[in-house]
Amino acid sequence: MAIDLKIDRRGLFYGAFAALLGGSLALSHRGARAAPQWPGASLLTAARIDGVDGGALLCDEGVCSFALPARAHAPVLMRDAGAVILIGRRPGNFAAVLDLEAPEAAARIFHPIAGHRFVGHAAVRGDSLFTTEMDELTGEGAAVLRDARSFAPRARFAAGIEPHDVLYARGGEILVVAIGGIARAADVKGPPINAGRIESAILELDPRSGAVLKRHALPDDMSTLSLRHMALAPDGETIAFGMQDQDRSMVRPLMGLLRVGRGIDLLPLPAGDEGGLRSYIGSVAVDESGRYVAATSPKGGLAGLWSLADGRWLGGFKLDDVCGLAADAGPESFWATSGHGDVVQMEAGENGLAAATHWRAEAAFDNHLLRS
């Protein structure tokens, strides 16, 4: 039986998921306890549950899991198609498409272009899908344009060494690709060749031609930083990005803001605890109001918050192995997940982040979180 998709405050996954989980199970559990109750978002993430790599849907206090061929990385919503793609973790050889109208059906699988590996990220707009992929021998990367219905590749736009996160900005006019820049064999997670002088950058591409419109790079004294993850602000022009430092002998900035067509501003490290992020950002999000930027560091067990308007550090929230991060549908609110099964709704404010509600499941939630 097909299940109607309802896009309401509970999110796109809600209808199918609630039916799968069984209303009575969820309701009886909810009824057994006083408030606070699950605030009505639905979340999707890659996860390892009972030792099996796959994905997990979370809503109404329930977890629904499904197996995948291997560990996945970022979930990407295809709102028009009522589907979610989970891209295989680097060096990935699959992407799985989950039909939200028939979540009980096996995920549809597609693969990287010949001789390439996925790196865990993709961006969708209308009938276009971009996957970032790497040549498995050379590490040279590309943004691969695919048909968003058939997933067939249409074009390969060279993008430099080790592309990672990718998103559309300015209403789809610009494709933005974070180039991690860490050169290594793409099929084995060996050490980087060039860790001391990474050529990391963020590229603005014309999504039709692949032409590089602008290349944003860091100063020479920051050549151990790899720009990897991004989040678009509601203005469609401002991108918050997070980095990973390949050298932890000194502190360097780990967060920045990019204004499309203009340039980069770096954000400060946590005040009073400059090493608190442990040289590593795993996920980035901007809240629905566009006032706050949040980022997670699983190595530091810290989610941090900055003011988007003036770049100030506002404060952090400690959570072991936190990584998954998504803005809530409402303003000044984020969701975070951890490798220990935590699911936390956090309120953002001038004093940083604070847990509004904290849940836990028997699951290891992976790097990235999708909220619908």
Partner: protein, 356 residues
């Protein structure tokens, strides 16, 4: 898709419960540092120093010098590295020292290409300590030394070649050996100094941006124990074996030129066992016994792997020997992950374990 479980509300109004096993974990991590980590780095520093001296002696009189003495010193350094390389965190993780010590697995034969470029440059400035700290990790370390020492019969001829070519090639080897010795000495010193890693762990303080207290250090070091199995299983075996003998990649095997692939793996496993035994001193006896028994089986299987591990993986007849070693190592890995963290009260990360 399966409904798995319901989320549980965490009573986050209450302060976090103190870890009842915190003292046990703190004692265990200090024992691992004192009886495994520091002795491994001390042995590495000694072997690297001996290797530097061997190159210095060879350089002083190349005509009479014995390349075999360089190979013996390289082998001793590799033995020490196979034991020490399991601990990447702390000083070895700074300044890309791990990668500089042995850049492997290498991408696209880059070590050979960078080494060739260095040889062509004939520029001693490239061997200055400052240059080696700054330059690509590929043309230095044990991986590059192996190229100089085990290029068939050419190695002896090229190193002993009269005039500048032989002299320059020897200077390169000497420069790499000097750099290895400096790295090993610095790493040992930073572990053992009065304000070093060991002292900070003992006094529940933080060290640089690596850890904030003893509990985080314990988690990092136990993570190294677990990650050691990924190195052995995923990188040293699976990547070489491929799905079947006809798609195996013998040249992906570690140190195949010097014939050390199996030996390095065996020393890794023995080293992992030595570390596990220290961690496991306070865990339930049944868990300890099971770990010992799984290690014994894995070591027996690794002993049976031919020295040319990569070639054996590509040979349908000998491949089962490699696969049994892989299965034996996997069994230890699974048991360690299942019992050690919980027995020791040390939480391991999932996302923090392996960046992306």
């Amino acid at each position: 898709m399966q409904p798995t479980s319901l989320l549980k509300l965490v009573a986050d109004a209450k302060p976090a419960q103190p870890n009842p096993k915190a003292a046990q974990a703190a004692r265990a991590v200090l024992a691992v540092v004192d009886r495994f980590v520091i002795p491994s780095y001390r042995a590495l520093a000694q072997a690297a120093d001996a290797q530097e001296k061997a190159w210095t002696a060879f350089a002083a009189n190349r005509a009479a010098g014995d390349v075999q003495s360089l190979r013996a010193a390289y082998s001793a350094a590799c033995d020490a590295w196979a034991r020490a390389q399991l601990i990447k965190t702390g000083p070895l993780s700074l300044f890309l020292r791990y990668e500089r010590f042995a850049y492997w697995p290498e991408a696209r034969n880059v070590t050979q290409r960078m080494l060739d470029a260095l040889i062509v440059s004939n520029d001693p400035k490239e061997l200055a300590p400052a240059a080696l700290v700054r330059d690509s990790v590929a043309a230095q370390g044990l991986t590059a030394l192996e190229r100089l020492l085990y290029d068939g019969d050419n190695s002896v001829r090229l190193l002993k070649a009269p005039g500048r070519p032989g002299e320059w090639r020897t200077e390169i080897g000497q420069g790499i050996a000097r750099n290895l010795s400096a790295i090993a000495k610095d790493v040992l010193a930073e572990w053992t100094a009065p304000d070093g890693v060991r002292a900070m762990i003992a006094s529940n303080k933080g060290w640089k941006m690596i850890f904030a207290d003893t509990a985080e250090a314990a988690s990092l070091l136990l993570t190294e124990q677990v990650t050691a199995f990924r190195l052995m299983h995923d990188i040293k075996l699976l990547a070489v074996m491929g799905a079947s003998a006809d798609v195996a990649r013998p040249r992906v095997a570690e140190a195949w030129r010097s014939g050390r692939s199996q030996r390095n793996l065996k020393l890794n496993l023995e080293s992992a066992q030595a570390m596990t035994r220290i961690w496991a001193e306070t865990v339930p006896a049944a868990h300890r016994t099971k770990l010992d028994s799984l290690y014994a089986s894995a070591l027996k299987a690794v002993d049976a792997v031919p020295a040319d591990l990569g070639e054996a993986a590509a040979d349908a007849r000998r491949r089962p020997l490699v696969d049994s070693a892989r299965a034996g190592i996997k069994a230890v890995q699974v048991e360690i992950a299942a019992t050690l963290p919980a027995d020791l009260g040390i939480t391991l990360g999932f996302n923090s374990l392996d960046g992306d």
